[in-house]
Symmetry: C2
Subunit: 203 residues, 2 copies
């Protein structure tokens, strides 16, 4: 909250930790994490630095919590029963749909994750978790190719990268206040890619 | 070329303008265009600033020439006879394949184009040309939907963005010295997306 001694600050008072983190992460995404000082964040939030420290111990902690939100949500998609049992084509469709929905719901946090380049332990751990997610999708495509539902001339690794390339690109342009719902977007992704996967019924 | 007064400089002597531009653009891509000083470029190239000025009038000119190479190549794909006449599904397949090949061949220059955010006249003009390319693919998807070869439940704008999202993501991981040729990669993209497009023969 702004105090009487900071009358000129723009900002929305009364943040909870989550809404504060959204503003912080938008700043990270625009300027880069390293280039965003606590002073910049205070200005954006309309809060004093000490008020920020009431919510977060450090800028590193903000990064860690934000990345955790994106990764927890993505991992939940890949750990769901629909992703771990049943026909592999259905499992692939489940995780593609789930990843699109997570991207739409947590766009700022996922954008932060996708733009990571740094070498701090927090960033390295996030990149490790992201690679593990990539690996799980790749393993599904490998299984799909082995059983004949993925075309044999497509490398499972390339299929994984192109699929995530398409899905991840959504953060660049999707706007939650636009005409397309996350569900519609997930449907479109599945329509565009699904028949690269041959359906079991067409075998 | 390094001179006797600059013995400590790393660098490869004997650049022509194109090979010099490759090194310059890799630096722009790693650090950001704005953050890359002429001093940094001289260090990377192992050249004096005056030797750089022998090839390029300014950093802006390097940017302009590099963006022009990416855009000229992409526009050539969209202006080719295969992109402007014949069945629209074939035209879409031609431009997707062509865009993949351009990305693989001019990876550094296309990466620069895709990461543009700035507001200089050179950048704005490049973004205008890029939007025009996007518009041409979108118009093809619109025509495809109108004739019934694109599924009616896919918005042509979404189809265009997802397709370019998949294609553009290739710059993030493709390595020309890896096991996958550009042609194989183009084939994989077309296999993954082609049957979201219904083939005319299946109507």
């Amino acid at each position: 909250m702004t105090t009487a001694t900071e009358p000129a600050r723009r900002g929305r008072p009364g943040y909870d930790r989550d809404s504060m983190l959204e503003v912080v992460v938008e700043a990270f995404n625009e300027r880069g994490y390293d280039a965003t000082s606590l002073g910049v964040l205070a200005e954006r939030l309309g809060l004093s630095k000490s008020a920020i420290y009431h919510h977060f111990a450090s800028k590193e902690q903000m990064l860690e919590v934000a990345l955790g939100k994106a990764l927890d949500a993505l991992e939940a998609v890949f750990d769901a029963p629909e992703a771990t049992s049943g026909p592999v084509v259905d499992r692939i469709r489940h995780v593609i749909r789930g990843a699109v929905l997570v991207l739409c719901e947590h766009r700022a946090f996922v954008t932060l994750l996708l733009r990571l380049r740094g070498n701090t332990p927090i960033e390295l751990e996030a990149l490790r978790r992201r690679r593990e997610i990539d690996r799980k999708l790749r393993a599904m495509f490998e299984q799909s190719r082995a059983e004949g539902t993925l075309r044999p001339d497509i490398d499972p690794r390339v299929a994984e990268r192109l699929t995530f390339g398409m899905v991840n690109s959504i953060v660049e342009w999707y706007r939650p206040d636009g005409p397309i719902t996350p569900q519609q977007l997930a449907d479109s992704v599945l329509e565009l890619v699904r028949t690269g996967l041959r359906e079991p019924s067409s075998l």
